[in-house]
């Protein structure tokens, strides 16, 4: 899967408070094409919030985000062209089948695909037999795999993943890591919040968020 151009994502002195809690202050880092940044830390320490700030969904109290060395405003056209965010929650519609969910998620993102392509992706994640099953009848692991199929087909270079291996069995975890590796090989970058040790074949930095004293 081709990724357009070299991309770089940088955070410049991000500060975020949630209510009275300070989640992070003056946080700066950068991730380039072909690299991954792993976010670590206890539950509730702010990993999801940081991902959401990078995605532009949450506004930081201060600080900037740079995309390819250009300052971007949250949810600007530029961010939306480049950023794909996989939330902790299943981003699925119960009333749609597995294949329809995949098709819909891609369509709303402006990605046109053919039925064959989608079925091929579903096959790769082991959901071909379940393609006509309504999402609310799928197991949690199967639901997450639809998200993986989406990753196979969407064209955005920056992946922000919140606990991507959540509810996946060992095979699916291997598949997920392979897909992330492939993405990095193609020049994409990824920021991943996770508990687990992720064995990626590409350079990855760790960023651990801690509770404020």
């Amino acid at each position: 899967m081709g990724v357009v151009g070299i991309v770089a994502l940088a955070a410049d002195r991000l500060t975020l408070n949630r209510g009275e809690r300070n989640l992070f202050t003056d946080l700066s880092f950068s991730v380039n094409g072909g690299e991954a940044l792993i976010l670590r830390g206890a539950n509730g320490v702010g990993k999801t919030s940081l991902l959401r700030v990078l995605a532009g969904l949450t506004m930081p109290d201060s600080g900037n985000i740079f995309l390819n060395n250009t300052n971007v405003k949250p949810l600007s056209e530029s961010s939306r062209q480049h950023i794909h965010y996989v939330a902790h929650a299943n981003q699925l519609k119960d009333e749609l089948t597995a294949e329809e969910n995949l098709s819909d998620a891609l369509a709303i993102d402006g990605v046109t695909t053919t039925l064959e392509t989608r079925l091929d992706a579903l096959n790769r994640v082991g959901l071909l037999k379940q393609r006509q099953v309504l999402a609310n009848k799928l197991s949690q692991g199967q639901k997450r795999r639809i998200g993986i199929a989406n990753l196979l087909l969407n064209q955005k270079p920056i992946w922000l993943l919140d606990e991507p291996t959540n509810a996946l069995d060992a095979d699916a975890v291997t598949l997920m890591l392979a897909i992330i590796d492939n993405h990095l090989t193609n020049g994409g970058l990824s920021v991943i919040a996770t508990h687990l040790a992720l064995a990626l074949n590409h350079p990855s930095d760790d960023l651990t968020l801690t509770e404020p004293k």
Partner: protein, 234 residues
Amino acid sequence: MTAASPNKPDFQPESGFIVACKRDLKLAMRSRGELAQAFVFFTIVVSLFPIAIGPEALILKRVAPGVLWVCALLAVLLTLPRIFQQDYLDATLEQLALSRYPLAAIVGGKMLAHWLTTGLPLALLAPVIGLQYSLEARELFILMLGLLLGTPVLTMLGAMGAALTLGVRGGAMLMALLVLPLYIPVLIFGTGAVESSMAGLDAAANLYLLAALNLFGIITIPFAVSQAIKISLD
């Protein structure tokens, strides 16, 4: 492996609008039962008034425009949480916000889908129910026209209220509180149209005013609602 087009794709708002509209229509069709509830509600509440006020035809005819409009308004209000609530809960709203299509276009598509599944059928149903109130054919026709022109505004203003109150405690009631005062102009012009018709006068002025509200809403509200969604996602 992907079917991406070789030239740089441009993400026209119109396409986003259509995609979002089709998506919501498909979802609505899958929960048809839930949709129908609004119309059943409308029918029941409209029948409550003659039971409460008494069956005198003259009195019913006098209150008909107001009663029918208020019941339609409440029925629409009941269906409003559907626009964004589920998307908010299953985090697909984040996908919509990060779409390469502008959020305002997606919001517009969702609002159209909402109207097609609530306001439009309600406008077509109302004249039939309005027969219970001894309204004449011409008056029922004006009622329907008014609802056709007014319900899109109700959807749009309602979407604004829904977007502001996503995930908030007591959301549905709070949304009603915010939205009902804003509904008042639509109520006034809609009932005014039917009453003018009943008085033998021309209903056109009221209908034009509804059309004007509609136009103003279409231009301003999708953008405002997309801002409200971004605020709620924060």
